[in-house]
C-alpha cells in the first residue's frame, strides 16, 4: 500500500508536504535533536527535582573549576560525590556540577521557550480570530475589527527587546515574569495572520454551508475554521520558540534573566563569560548547547515551512 503510494504521484497535498519534509535531512536532524532535548529536559526535571540523583545546587568549594571528566578530590563528602564518580562537564566557580546544572537548566530553558510561545499563540489566535470572525460587529463608534487591529498596531510600535528589558527590569525577576513578558510582546504576527486567514475562510463554501445549517458560532470557529488556519501558525511558533530561548539568554547576559540559584542555559552561559580564560568549559558548553537546540528549532520550523509552501518546491 505504502509502496504503491510512493511510486504514483500522490494527489494528496499533505502527503507531498510530508515527503518534502522527510527528504530534508537537516530538518530530520533537527527533529532528532529536539526529541533528545525533550528527554533530557524530562530527565532533568525528574532527576534533579523529584527524585534527587543530581543535586545541581551542591557547593563543593574544594572542587571548583575542575575541567570536564575530572574526578572529585578526597575533600568532598561522600554524599556529595556526583553520580558517575566524576564531573562529566566539569565544575563551576562554586564547585557545582555543570552536568547537573545543564540538566536542570534544559527543562527551564525549554519551558520558557514553549510557555512564552504558547501564550503568544493563544493571545494571537484569540484576538485574530475575534477580529476575523466577529469583526463587523460594532462597539459604539468603532467596529471590533478596527479596535483589535489598531491595538495590534500599537503593540507593533514598541521596540520589542527594549520593552521586554524595561518591564523585566522593573518587575521582580522570576521565570514566570520572563515567560509572560516574552509571550505578551510576541503575539502580533499571529493575530494578523489568523485574522487574514479567517476573513478568507469565512467566504468559502464549506463555512457558508455550515452557517446555513445553523451550526453555533463556537462550532464553526473551533471545528471548521481553526484547524484550517493552525498549521502555518504552528510552523511559525516553532521558530518563535527558538527566538524566545535566545531572548532569555540575551536577558541573562544583561543581568535581567532568571536569578541564581536557579539554572537556565542562558544564565550558565552569562555567568561563564567571566571565566572564559580560566574555565572555558563554563562558557563553551552552554553556548554550544543553546546553539544546537535553537538551530534544531529553526531547522525544523523552516523545513516545515518549505514543505507547506507549494511555490518553493522544485519543478
Amino acid at each position: 500500500m505504502a509502496k504503491h503510494a510512493v511510486e504514483s504521484v500522490s494527489p494528496v497535498p499533505e502527503y507531498r508536504a510530508w515527503k518534502t519534509f522527510l527528504d530534508d535531512r537537516l530538518a530530520l536532524a533537527g527533529v532528532i535533536v529536539l526529541v533528545l532535548l525533550v528527554f533530557a529536559a524530562l530527565a532533568g526535571k525528574f532527576l534533579t527535582d523529584w527524585f534527587v540523583v543530581f543535586d545541581p545546587s551542591v557547593v563543593r568549594l574544594a572542587d571548583k573549576f575542575l575541567p570536564p571528566l575530572s574526578v572529585p578530590s578526597e575533600f568532598v563528602a561522600p554524599a556529595d560525590i556526583p553520580w558517575f564518580g566524576m564531573y562529566l562537564l566539569g565544575t563551576d566557580e562554586l564547585g557545582r556540577d555543570v552536568f547537573a546544572r545543564m540538566l536542570q537548566g534544559s527543562m527551564v530553558s525549554l519551558s520558557i521557550g514553549i510557555v512564552a510561545v504558547a501564550l503568544a499563540v493563544s493571545i494571537g489566535v484569540t484576538l485574530g480570530g475575534i477580529a476575523g470572525y466577529f469583526g463587523d460587529r460594532r462597539l459604539g463608534f468603532i467596529s471590533v475589527d478596527s479596535l483589535i487591529m489598531r491595538f495590534t498596531d500599537v503593540m507593533l510600535c514598541f521596540p520589542t527587546f527594549f520593552l521586554i528589558l524595561t518591564v523585566i527590569a522593573l518587575l521582580p525577576s522570576s521565570i514566570y515574569n520572563i515567560m509572560i513578558v516574552i509571550g505578551v510582546t510576541g503575539w502580533m504576527g499571529t493575530a494578523r495572520f489568523v485574522r487574514a486567514e479567517f476573513l478568507s475562510l469565512r467566504e468559502q463554501d464549506f463555512i457558508v454551508s455550515a452557517t446555513a445549517l445553523g451550526l453555533p458560532n463556537w462550532r464553526i470557529i473551533l471545528l471548521h475554521m481553526l484547524p484550517n488556519a493552525m498549521v502555518p501558525v504552528l510552523v511559525s511558533a516553532t521558530i518563535s520558540v527558538a527566538t524566545a530561548i535566545l531572548t532569555e539568554s540575551a536577558l541573562s547576559f544583561l543581568g535581567f534573566g532568571v536569578q541564581p540559584p536557579a539554572a537556565t542555559w542562558g544564565n550558565i552561559l552569562a555567568d561563564g563569560k567571566g571565566f572564559i580564560f580560566d574555565a572555558p568549559w563554563l562558557f563553551f558548553i552552554p553556548g554550544f548547547a543553546i546553539l544546537l537546540v535553537v538551530l534544531a528549532f529553526n531547522l525544523v520550523g523552516e523545513g516545515m515551512r518549505e514543505a507547506m509552501n507549494p511555490r518553493l518546491r522544485p519543478r
Binding site: 521596540p159 527594549f162 527558538a242 563569560k273 511555490r311 522544485p314
Partner: protein, 320 residues
C-alpha cells in the same frame, strides 16, 4: 493618493499618542521607582524620599504626570532624573555615536546578502546552497553575545585589532589621520558582529524570494525564448524579486534605536542602546520614556515610508 497620505498620517499621529500613553502607564505603574534604586543607603531618610518624589511629580495622578512629561518633552525642558541633564541633547549625542555603527552594519548586510542569496537560489540544491543555508541557520541560532565573545577572542589574539569603546584611550592628541584610523578599527568589529545575523536573515529571504520568482511562468517563457541565463536571472527574475525589499528600507528605521543594546554593551560603545540600558537600571523615567517615544515614532514613520515606496515602485498597487 494625496488624501490617502494625509489620512494615513493623521491616523499614525493618533496611534503615536496612544502608544505614548500606554508606555507611560506601563513604565510608571510597574513596581520600582527612582527613589528606590539604592534602598540600603542609610543616608536616604523618608523625608529625602518624599522630596525626591515631589520633585519628580511622582505623587501626582498618572494623567497629570503624562501631561507634565509631554509638556516638558515638547518644550525641550525635559531633564533626566539621574543627573539633571536635558534629555533631548543627551539622546542626540548618543544617537550620533550609534549612527556610524548602524550605517556600517546596514551597508554590510545589504551588500553581502544579495549576492549570497541570489547565488544560493540559482544553484538550488548545490553544495554552495546547502552550506550557505547551514551557515545562515547557524548564525541565526547562535546567541549574539556568545558569537561576539568568540570573535573578540580570535580577533584580538590573531590580529591585534582594538575592539572596546569608540577610540583607544590616550589617542586624543594624535594626528587626525591616526585618530581616524583608530576609530575606524574600533568600528569594524562591532559593525561586523551586529551585521552577521542580519546577513543570515536577509540572504535567506533573498533566496526564498528568488526561488518564488524563478518558479513563475514568465521566467519559463523567458528561458524558452532562448535568452541567456544571466539576463533571465538579473533582468527578469531579480527585478521582480526585489520588490519586497524596497519596503524593508522603511522598516529598518526603528533599528536606529532599539537594535543594538547587546552589541553596544559588549563593545562598550556609548550609543543609544546603552543609554537606554543605563536609564532602565537607574529608573530614569524621562530617558526611558523619550527613547520609547522616539522608537515608536520611527516605527510609524518607517511603515509609512514603506507603504509609499511600495506604491512608487510597484505600479500594480494604488493607495486610496
Amino acid at each position: 493618493m494625496g488624501s490617502y497620505l494625509i489620512r494615513n498620517f493623521l491616523q499614525r499621529c493618533v496611534l503615536l499618542i496612544v502608544v505614548s500613553m500606554i508606555s507611560h502607564a506601563v513604565i510608571l505603574l510597574a513596581p520600582g521607582e527612582p527613589s528606590e534604586v539604592d534602598p540600603s543607603n542609610p543616608r536616604m531618610k523618608p523625608e529625602d524620599i518624599a522630596k525626591i518624589r515631589a520633585a519628580f511629580h511622582l505623587d501626582d495622578p498618572l494623567h497629570v504626570q503624562y501631561v507634565y512629561w509631554m509638556r516638558d518633552m515638547v518644550s525641550g525642558e525635559l531633564t533626566s532624573f539621574k543627573d539633571g541633564q536635558p534629555v533631548l541633547p543627551k539622546i542626540w549625542s548618543r544617537f550620533l555615536n550609534s549612527l556610524p555603527l548602524f550605517v556600517c552594519a546596514t551597508l554590510i548586510v545589504w551588500t553581502l546578502s544579495f549576492p549570497v542569496g541570489i547565488r544560493a537560489a540559482v544553484t538550488r540544491g548545490s553544495l554552495y546552497d546547502r552550506s550557505t543555508t547551514f551557515i545562515a541557520y547557524g548564525l541565526i541560532s547562535i546567541p549574539g553575545f556568545f558569537l561576539s565573545y568568540l570573535f573578540i577572542l580570535w580577533i584580538v589574539e590573531g590580529f591585534n585589532v582594538p575592539v572596546i569603546g569608540m577610540a583607544t584611550f590616550g589617542m586624543q592628541d594624535a594626528h587626525w589621520l591616526y585618530r581616524g584610523m583608530d576609530q575606524l578599527w574600533h568600528l569594524v568589529i562591532p559593525s561586523v558582529m551586529s551585521a552577521l545575523a542580519g546577513v543570515a536573515i536577509l540572504s535567506r529571504y533573498v533566496r526564498s524570494q528568488m526561488l518564488e520568482v524563478i518558479g513563475q511562468d514568465y521566467i519559463r517563457t523567458a528561458r524558452a525564448k532562448g535568452l541567456d541565463p544571466d539576463s533571465v536571472i538579473y533582468r527578469h527574475a531579480l527585478r521582480n524579486a526585489l520588490l519586497p525589499f524596497v519596503t524593508m528600507f522603511g522598516l529598518m528605521l526603528p533599528g536606529l534605536i532599539g537594535g543594538s543594546v547587546i552589541i553596544e554593551q559588549i563593545f562598550a560603545w556609548p550609543g543609544i542602546g546603552r543609554l537606554g540600558y543605563d536609564a532602565i537600571l537607574a529608573r530614569d523615567f524621562p530617558v526611558i520614556l523619550t527613547i520609547n517615544f522616539i522608537a515608536a515614532a520611527l516605527t510609524l514613520a518607517g511603515t509609512f515610508l514603506s507603504d509609499i515606496l511600495y506604491a512608487v515602485v510597484d505600479p500594480r498597487i494604488r493607495l486610496q
